[in-house]
């Protein structure tokens, strides 16, 4: 073997080594939403083999048969009915300038819940349905609604209702900012916080179906498909914003402001990994 050949061989080996290492290192830190979604859904269908994918959207009611019976009974006289009616009325009532919500949305706002949140490439950020509704109001000279109160719940209840049964269909455009928003949402979901040192995953991935105080924990899969929800404990409706902030404070973490970037990204991540599961909102909960 000549010296030259030996060196060449050594360089080749090195290059091969680098090539072999590079994809592995890349995989560890790369963002691959499609693979995440597959793993996420497989985790839940594996953990609850008796449930069909579409059953997960009923939160705690999907977790056992007794609860499921309660749910069926509730659906006969749904406690969100009042809010739904109010939402329908609000939706069709013109603003002072004569325009309506329908003018702000694709397909007049009917049957589109499954596409929210979406990534707005102009703004470079995630836009949730609650945010889009308030932007619609402001663009038409109306004051925005509180993100955690009844008016916002009623509007989103109506929009969800017109979309019932449609599979969640969140798109991540080929834009590095969209991928970053998705990844940040995922990080928020798995990050432990609050004095109790819990992440969203501690409760909604590691312990779905288990009881915490009097409540049965909902699985993270399809966890937003039924939003907004009526809760007996609240004796009223709650938006996604209300649920996020409540879940933060119950682990003794100071909640962020509704629709802060973190919550928008979180909603983007959680909705994307539930793609394919039907919209079932508005929901009713114990």
């Amino acid at each position: 073997m000549t010296r030259r050949f030996a060196i060449r061989a050594a360089i080749a080996t090195l290059a091969l080594g680098v090539l072999a290492l590079a994809p592995a290192a890349y995989a560890a830190d790369s963002v691959d939403p499609a693979a995440d979604k597959a793993a996420f859904q497989k985790f839940f269908t594996g953990k609850f083999p008796k449930l069909k994918l579409e059953d997960f959207v009923n939160g705690p009611y999907s977790m056992n048969e007794d609860l499921h019976k309660q749910w069926e009974e509730k659906e006969q006289f749904p406690p969100y009915e009042f809010s739904l009616e109010a939402g329908k009325e609000m939706f069709s009532t013109p603003f002072k300038n004569g325009k309506t919500y329908a003018d702000c949305f694709p397909n007049q706002g009917i049957g589109i819940r499954q596409n929210y949140p979406y990534f707005d490439e102009k703004e470079g950020k995630v836009v949730t349905l609650e945010l889009a509704l308030n932007r619609c109001r402001e663009a038409n000279g109306e004051a925005p609604f509180s993100y955690v109160k009844d008016d916002m719940a009623a509007l989103t209840a109506y929009m969800a209702f017109t979309s019932r049964g449609k599979p969640m269909d969140i798109k991540i455009p080929n834009d590095p900012r969209a991928l970053e928003a998705y990844q940040k949402g995922k990080e928020y979901f798995y990050t432990r916080r609050g004095q109790l040192n819990f992440s969203c995953a501690t409760c909604h991935i590691q312990s779905p179906g288990e009881r915490i105080r009097a409540e049965v924990l909902a699985p993270a899969l399809g966890i937003l498909n039924a939003m907004p929800i009526y809760r007996s404990e609240w004796s009223g409706m709650g938006t996604t914003s209300r649920r996020f902030t409540t879940c933060n404070s119950q682990i003794r973490g100071v909640p962020l402001n509704p629709q802060d970037d973190e919550y928008r990204d979180l909603e983007y991540y959680l909705s994307y990994v539930s793609n394919g599961l039907p919209i079932s909102g508005p929901g009713a909960r114990p």
Binding site: A39, R193, Q195, A201, V254, E262
Partner: protein
């Protein structure tokens, strides 16, 4: 009374005075402790990770301080600072640790 004994009395009186100031916190002690706790909680806020217990302990400190109970006020402020620092530690260590929880 001999001068020697008088001197001893005087010295122990001084000692006593010193001891009581070490025990009883002053308003200045409270203000220092409160400022430190508030600064740590602000840092936790920049990391988007404040704890509700830090806030409630801070307000307990403030309430005691306003009532002139500086011993309690200092103790609460120190507790609040410890909580805020723990929340900072949590936020910092979670920067990488969250990945362990991910479903893959």
């Amino acid at each position: 009374m001999s001068t020697a004994i008088r001197a001893i009395f005087a010295a122990s009186a001084l000692l006593l005075a010193a001891a009581t100031t070490a025990l009883a916190a002053s308003e200045a002690d409270y203000k220092t402790a409160y400022a430190a706790a508030e600064a740590a909680n602000k840092e936790a806020g920049l990391l988007r990770n404040q704890w509700t217990t830090t806030a409630s302990t801070l307000s307990a400190a403030k309430k005691a301080g306003e009532a002139g109970d500086f011993d309690t006020a200092v103790a609460q402020a120190k507790e609040a600072e410890a909580l805020a620092k723990a929340s900072i530690f949590q936020a910092t260590s979670e920067k990488e640790r969250w990945k362990d929880m991910e479903v893959r």
